[in-house]
């Protein structure tokens, strides 16, 4: 039976407000340290110039001019893409059982966009000019235009809206209870009343929002792929596969992070009630699908590089398979292929252990990072078309520091959100009613 009653009459289950566990505090503490390190590192880069990084000019400089930062940017864009896709799919395909991870995905998406944006800024030689000149002069013809405007402004904003609208109801619930954050909850709730028409309206709005977002995402992530895909000057990049490959690997890593976060929340905040194995199984299958496609792309790319490839492509492939980059390459491949195996097994055995999925997710994300790195760097150090000889690139401590800082910032943002609003949607009272 489902009789509507004003929500404030309902008692809030204690576990529904999160962010109180010891683990949470510990993680936040570490994040703060990481952030400080990041800030210190970036300060060094600003004052000393980018000479403090490991990057150098391509050619006579014998280096790579894009390095860890860009690899991280691409990775984050992928995560963000995947996050919002999952959220949107939950809407579009009415995947009720996945609703508990919906918001996790949304948050992930927003955070990832922010980090990606910052990654671009720290990679600029003239960061402040960048902020102004991009808005002022950005050229559609430059793939950067797409990456920058569409990705950052576009679905950064879109996912923010999405997150906001989705959070109103829970905010309204919390707004009822006095507390330090009541003002915030009231603001977010912005007069949400749990009337049927309000709900119905919200559902419709977020449905169309989702409909709007998904194509945008494909375009956006593809342009990011084009940033590399369209470069004739860079052997190993000029590949039609880049865009689709980008999108799929993005999906893989994103789903992975969702799984990790979900597992973390489930364990740390004891939410096995909603984050059921079924949820994980579903995500696992999704990852299996994407991973399968990606590994296929990877194989095709390798084959084309080894056989059809030009001399330059051949050199890069050599560097990847047997040369300088072989360790990173084969590790990344293993981190993607082994999980695929595990997932296939799980699918056949119909046994989706959360532990295994979490492990797999961590692996694929490391693998994804590695692959991003290998797309960016080798073509610069080993792909020069004129006989410059081999170059080399090793990220400097400063770069690791800055990236660490960015990750830490992301963690802090998520943690803060958990404090402010339920990271898992509050159950609607008809469900409560069922529980009762």
């Amino acid at each position: 039976m489902a009789t509507t009653q004003p929500i404030h009459h309902r008692e809030l289950a204690p576990q529904e407000m999160l962010g109180r566990s010891r683990i949470w505090t510990l993680v936040m503490g570490l994040a703060v340290i990481g952030l400080v390190l990041g800030i210190v590192s970036y300060a060094r880069e600003l004052t000393g110039g980018m000479v403090v990084t490991g990057m150098r000019d391509v050619g006579i400089g014998g280096g790579a001019t894009w390095g860890l930062y860009v690899a991280f940017l691409i990775y984050m864009m992928g995560v963000s893409f995947a996050g919002i896709t999952i959220a949107a799919m939950i809407r579009l395909l009415k995947l009720e059982q996945l609703r508990p991870v919906g918001r996790i995905a949304e948050i992930l998406s927003v955070v990832a966009v922010v980090l990606g944006g910052l990654a671009i800024i720290v990679d600029l030689g003239q960061p402040l000019r960048g902020l102004v000149n991009l808005f002022r002069y950005a050229r559609p013809q430059s793939p950067f235009f797409g990456t920058f405007t569409l990705v950052l402004a576009g679905y950064g904003f879109a996912s923010l809206v999405y997150l906001y609208l989705g959070s109103r109801r829970d905010a309204a619930v919390l707004a009822e209870r006095p507390g330090r954050l009541q003002w915030l909850h009231r603001f977010v709730a912005s007069g949400y009343s749990d009337t049927p028409e309000e709900r119905e309206r919200h559902d419709r709005a977020s449905f169309w929002l989702a409909v709007g977002i998904v194509p945008l995402l494909v375009v956006a992530s593809s342009t990011l792929g084009f940033v590399f895909g369209l470069q004739i000057g860079r052997p190993g990049w000029f590949s039609a596969l880049q865009a689709p490959a980008f999108v799929t690997l993005a999906g893989v890593s994103g789903v992975g992070l969702v799984i990790v976060l979900a597992a973390l929340v489930r364990h740390a905040e004891h939410r096995s009630d909603v984050l059921t194995p079924a949820v994980f199984a579903w995500l696992g299958k999704l990852m299996l699908g994407l991973l399968f496609v990606y590994v296929y792309f990877m194989a095709v790319e390798l084959v084309t590089a080894t056989y059809a490839g030009s001399e330059a492509d051949a050199d890069i492939t050599a560097a990847l398979l047997t040369g300088t980059y072989a360790p990173i390459f084969w590790t990344s491949v293993a981190f993607l292929v082994v999980p695929l195996g595990l997932l296939v097994y799980a699918a056949l055995a119909k046994r989706w252990s959360i532990g295994m999925l979490t492990a797999v997710s961590v692996l694929v994300n490391l693998g994804a990072l590695g692959k991003r790195y290998l797309i960016v760097v080798p073509s610069q150090t080993h792909g020069t078309l004129l006989p410059y000889g081999e170059g080399s690139y090793t990220p400097a401590l400063v770069e690791y520091g800055v990236v660490l800082g960015l990750v830490a910032l992301g963690v802090l943002m998520i943690g803060a959100f958990m404090k402010a609003l339920p990271v898992i949607e509050l159950q609607r009272e008809e469900e409560v009613g069922q529980d009762a």
Partner: protein, 245 residues
């Protein structure tokens, strides 16, 4: 209407790198920033070894990848064929550097003012250079150029921006040839206007043995080569320069 082009005669080039030095002095480029590079290449094994030289300025492509990818239009193509960089607009994303198949772009990794061959121990240095850094500071680089009125000549203007060969835009405006073409002791660098039928550069381009660098990249360079042959990837670079950024 003028359309500038350069022809480099590999039958004449002796690989002396005078062009490199002329460029550096003329354009005040900072330490580690070589806009012109001369490959000294070696192929084969003793005793059947062959050697060749290959000067490599910016190719000033008509279909320039760097121009296409520049997110803010700091790198742009002029109607007269020059591909220039607006040092005051560049945001330092180094996308042009990746897009260029020839590797001609140079980024100011550190403060150029502190990389002008002057960081030696000397208390009197400031007085000696009398505020002009480098001591051979060329005032042409302080002013704007072309109808577009942008500051595009010279190097080392700011930390964190990309620079490259400009065909010596400041000299062209004075009616002079680029520094490299002027100084070449064996006149291996021919520079001129392809829209002027009388210009000797056209005859050179028309030579049967003329070729472009990396034609497969479809960049349509305005720098052409005659004599010699396109370097193969089996060529080894000897006597590499050691840039210190």
């Amino acid at each position: 209407m003028t359309r500038y082009a350069m022809v480099i005669d590999l039958d004449r080039c002796q690989g002396c790198r005078a062009c490199v030095e002329a460029c550096k002095v003329e354009n005040n480029t900072p330490q580690g920033s070589l806009w012109m590079h001369v490959f000294r290449l070696e192929e084969g094994t003793y005793p059947s070894t062959t050697m060749s030289f290959l000067p490599r300025p910016c190719q000033h492509c008509d279909n320039a990848p760097c121009v296409k990818v520049c997110p803010v239009g700091a790198r742009y193509k002029r109607e007269d064929g020059l591909v220039l960089t607006d040092f005051d607009r560049c945001i330092g994303c180094r996308y042009c550097e990746l897009a260029c198949p020839y590797g001609v772009n140079v980024f100011n990794w550190s403060d150029p003012a502190e990389h002008q061959y002057l960081d030696w121990d000397d208390p009197d240095l400031p007085d000696e250079v009398r505020g002009s850094v480098p001591p051979w500071h060329n005032p042409d680089h302080d002013v704007v150029h072309g109808d577009e009125q942008r500051r595009t000549s010279g190097g080392g203007h700011a930390k964190g921006v990309v620079e490259k060969c400009t065909f010596c835009v400041q000299r062209l405006e004075r009616g002079e040839l680029p520094a490299c073409a002027t100084t070449c002791p064996v006149n291996a660098i021919i520079f001129g206007d392809t829209d002027d039928p009388g210009d000797s550069v056209n005859a050179e381009i028309a030579r049967g043995d003329a070729f472009d660098l990396l034609p497969e990249a479809g960049t349509k360079p305005r720098v052409h080569y005659v004599g010699g042959k396109h370097p193969t990837r089996s060529a080894r670079e000897i006597e590499r320069v050691e840039v210190e950024v």
